[in-house]
């Protein structure tokens, strides 16, 4: 059952494990609670006198009165204790203590998280963990989102749902990210799990409205159906009407990414029949008038995605529209607003009544100017999460900085994602945000120009930064004031932000920037690099300097085989490495594959270039217990 040579996750490197073992010993010494020994909460648990290979204080002698042997007692105690462990890190550590702990941990784990669906097979996972209620699976690497990978690469849900249908009848929750899900998979899911409660699909594809219809009609306990940035094909099925007429226990229904029109009457009925509904995010085919009607049906909503936020075409010019302000005023519980997909800015003031309570506001599809934004944002004192388009300009960001003192997360997306334009936001906006929003933890900022000074300022003003992602859209663009590379700015970020775990760099960067990252980025887990660096040294600095690095994605940077080889000591501790359009050769990748047998080394060719020449277009490699996967498309070769 235990393969001794399996690559350890980075969460369980030996130092960490030792500390935990000490803690566990202390737990053992404590006398167990009265219920733990005799109370048997698990119907399948049996008391046996002969114990398996345990390394506890085991004895092979059997007392006369058939009391459970010490091994069993220990395991029972352990089970009751481990039930309380929720953190996967802790659980992974506990499972490495000894076989007994491994077994008990496996029995008590209810949430299965698989960060790379190819790292372990469904069979292996379902054999080890038999009492799972919730599964999270992640598939494709992130750069696939930007068309850097041909379609049909993999990450199919099918084998997983087949295996789970057999072993997890009590499965309640499935969370998927970047997986290929078919309608058949959804059908199997709906049929196999009678108590199924929660389906969350993020950046998934391969299914359509017919699959959704099956889920809607068959999952009678469904509480959560969240479709986030997923691609849903239009099968001409009115899936909303497949929810039961008699009522649902829906608490969350998110379908803002579904591009197909829906039957509004069915939706209105559904909302009226779902008294527990708290989160509702509509797609852009819902007009303001329709939104108004829905809000009347669900005044207790906490999260609202407003759909198009423009009136439908048949509202005449002189007609008195519904009173939107009152509608928002009536929904006193709203803390999260999004949508605004085709916003008519004149209607924006309608949301004023809820601004004071808003903790999360997503304007990232709303092409609004600073003038439109200011009166709204000036009321949002409690705002913690703000997603917005750069159409608000530096001026809009200054307004945000002036009011939103509680801001934790800011994302500024480009209205025009091009390289050759002026761009409405710059270092001015970044500087303002750094000065006004001192509690900032996470930022994603797209811009056309930036300065080191502003980035340095942010590194000093926002010490709580955990995520810093700056995208200067012009490739190789230097500090636009000094003409220098952006090395110093990013250097300051890794140096001053002691909690930083995720970093994305851009602009003109030399190896020096990577030297900084390697020197100071000791807890960085995720690093994204594009069009940066001068030589192999850049990558070497990072691979040698960042012990916590788990996810490294690089494109169009001059790193070659020598750099790749310098990470051999670390690759088993990583979830994946992605390198596209770098200077890698087949030979170099082959060397890695030979040195590390538990690493799957995929070389992905662009579809119009299937000849095996020496240059590697894209390298994607990841640790795995299974070896090469069996669903490899023709444009992938596994070395």
């Amino acid at each position: 059952m235990i393969t001794n040579k399996k690559p350890r996750s980075s969460d369980t490197d030996s130092i960490y494990m030792k500390d935990d073992r000490t803690e566990m010993s202390e737990d053992d010494d404590r006398s167990p609670s009265p219920n733990s020994i005799t109370h048997d909460s698990r119907p399948t648990r049996t008391y046996t006198t002969g114990s398996g290979p345990g390394t506890g204080p085991g004895s092979s002698s059997v007392p006369e009165y058939l009391a459970p042997c010490p091994d069993q007692v220990l395991e029972n105690v352990l089970e009751n204790v481990l039930l309380f462990l929720t953190s996967r890190k802790d659980r992974n550590a506990a499972s490495l203590v000894c076989r007994s702990w491994y077994r008990v941990e496996a029995l008590t784990r209810s949430d299965l998280f698989i960060g790379n669906c190819y790292a372990v097979s469904p069979k292996r996972a379902t054999s080890r963990f038999t009492r799972i209620r919730s599964v999270t699976l992640k598939g494709r690497p992130r750069f696939a989102d930007f068309n850097l990978m041909p379609p049909n690469w993999g990450a199919h849900l099918a084998p997983w749902v087949s295996a789970m249908a057999l072993t997890y009848p009590w499965l309640e929750k499935v969370h998927l990210k970047r997986m290929s899900v078919t309608d058949d998979d959804l059908a199997l899911l709906a049929e196999s799990f009678s108590g199924f409660k929660e389906l969350v699909l993020v950046c998934c594809d391969g299914f359509g409205t017919s699959g959704l219809a099956i889920v809607a009609s068959r999952c009678r306990q469904l509480k959560v159906l969240d479709l986030i940035e997923s691609e849903v094909s239009d099968d001409d099925v009115d899936w909303i009407s497949y929810f039961p007429d008699t009522g649902t226990c829906l608490e969350s229904l998110i379908f803002d990414c579904v591009e197909c029109p829906i039957d509004f009457d069915a939706l209105e009925r559904l909302v009226a029949n779902s008294p527990s509904l708290k989160k509702l995010r509509l797609n852009r085919h819902v007009s303001m008038g329709q939104l108004h009607r829905l809000m009347a049906q669900a005044p207790r909503l906490t999260h609202l995605g407003t759909g198009s936020f423009s009136p439908s075409e048949d509202v005449g010019q002189g007609e008195q529209g519904p009173d939107y302000v009152s509608a928002f005023a009536a929904c006193k519980s709203i803390v999260c607003l999004s949508g605004f997909r085709e916003i008519i800015p004149d209607y924006l003031p309608a949301i004023n009544p809820v601004c004071a309570n808003l903790t999360s506001l997503n304007f990232s599809y709303a092409n609004v100017s600073a003038e439109h934004l200011k009166p709204i944002i000036s009321n949002c004192h409690k705002l913690q999460i703000f997603w917005v388009l750069d159409s608000i300009c530096d001026e809009g960001l200054q307004a945000v900085a002036a009011t939103c003192k509680e801001l934790r997360e800011l994302r500024v997306f480009p209205f025009e994602a091009r390289e050759d334009i002026e761009g409405p936001v710059s270092e001015v906006g970044l500087q303002a945000v750094s000065e006004g929003c001192r509690k900032l933890q996470s930022i994603l900022y797209f811009c056309q120009r930036m300065t080191n000074a502003a980035v340095v300022a942010m590194s000093k003003n926002c010490p709580d930064l955990v995520v810093f992602r700056l995208c200067i859209m012009g490739r190789h663009r230097p500090d636009h004031v000094t003409g220098e590379p952006m090395d110093e700015g990013f250097g300051a970020i890794v140096m001053n932000c002691k909690k930083l775990t995720r970093l994305a760099v851009s602009g003109l960067l030399t190896d020096r920037a990577f030297a900084y990252i390697g020197k100071y980025g000791k807890i960085v887990r995720t690093l994204s690099v594009a069009f940066a660096g001068d030589s192999d040294m850049g990558l070497k600095y990072v691979l040698e300097g960042c012990p916590r690095l788990q996810k490294l994605e690089i494109r169009d940077s001059p790193f070659g085989d020598a750099a790749l080889l310098s990470g051999l000591h670390h690759y088993y501790n990583m979830r994946f490495l992605w390198m596209s359009a770098c200077n890698l050769s087949n030979q170099g990748c082959q060397q890695i594959a030979q040195a590390l047998p538990r690493l799957v080394v995929e070389v992905i060719k662009h579809e119009d270039n299937l000849d095996m020449d020496e240059n590697v277009d894209t390298l994607y490699m990841y640790r795995s217990l299974e070896g090469p996967r069996d669903d490899v498309p023709r444009f992938v070769s596994i070395l």
């Binding site: 750069f143 989102d145 930007f146 068309n147 850097l148 379609p151 950046c203 594809d205 940035e229 691609e231 094909s233 239009d234 990414c257 591009e259 197909c260 029109p261 852009r284 075409e313 997909r341 085709e342 990232s364 599809y365 092409n367 388009l389 997306f413 480009p414 209205f415 025009e416 994602a417 091009r418 390289e419 050759d420 334009i421 002026e422 797209f446 120009r449 995208c471 859209m473 012009g474 490739r475 190789h476 663009r477 230097p478 636009h480 004031v481 000094t482 003409g483 220098e484 590379p485 003109l508 030399t510 594009a530 069009f531 001068d534 494109r555 169009d556 579809e607 119009d608």
Partner: protein
């Protein structure tokens, strides 16, 4: 504002220089050139304008653009490429599509098209595929000029479909009836991906009868 003073220069200096303004192409200029921005900046700069009476905003803007232009040195190793790069900037297709739809529907006066005019559509979103001429059968036929252009990226796309045999064909190459009978799925491919598809259409028409 100090920056503006530094770089104040006559408008006659409009040619691209290597190095920062005020330098004689010294050390820092070298640095900037090392990985110069290989694309030329689109000349909306209009620096040859005789805007002596230009308002301060314009002046500053022109100055800052000039500064930027100076910082962008042409790297002789890389030819200037105006083409946008795949997947850059890293904005997800979904978001790009949504914003493209918004842009195009605001560009069109008064006319609100369902789903926009589909100038950028990814893969399976053919519910918004509204371009087409009507053939004599009264049904929408696909465009003769079968190129779609992504407004954002300037890359061109062609609609293709997979037929019963599993071959990928260019939409519009076979008659409508044959297409409607045999089409299994649609895909919008990049122009360069779709090379070599056209010749098969003739074969298909000859070899099959689809009724």
């Amino acid at each position: 504002m100090e920056v503006v003073k530094e770089t104040k220069m006559g408008f006659e200096e409009t040619e691209l220089r290597l190095g920062l303004p005020g330098n004689s192409g010294g050390g820092e200029g070298e640095m900037a050139r090392k990985r110069g921005f290989s694309e030329t900046v689109d000349l909306k700069l209009n620096l040859s304008s005789k805007e002596s009476g230009a308002d301060p905003n314009n002046l500053e803007k022109i100055n800052s653009l000039q500064r930027e232009k100076n910082l962008l040195a042409t790297d002789p190793a890389k030819p200037p490429a105006k083409a946008q790069v795949v997947g850059w900037p890293p904005v997800r297709s979904f978001r790009k599509n949504m914003l493209a739809v918004q842009k195009s529907s605001t560009d069109q006066e008064g006319e609100k098209l369902p789903g926009g005019n589909a100038t950028f559509v990814k893969g399976k979103m053919f519910s918004s595929f509204t371009i087409g001429n009507c053939g004599s059968h009264g049904l929408k036929d696909f465009l003769n000029e079968s190129k779609l252009v992504d407004l954002l990226n300037g890359t061109d796309y062609v609609p293709t479909y997979e037929d019963k045999d599993g071959d990928w064909m260019l939409v519009g190459d076979v008659p409508w009836d044959m297409f409607a009978e045999s089409c299994k799925r649609l895909r919008i491919m990049k122009g360069k991906e779709a090379t070599g598809l056209a010749p098969r259409a003739m074969e298909k028409c000859k070899n099959r009868s689809y009724k």
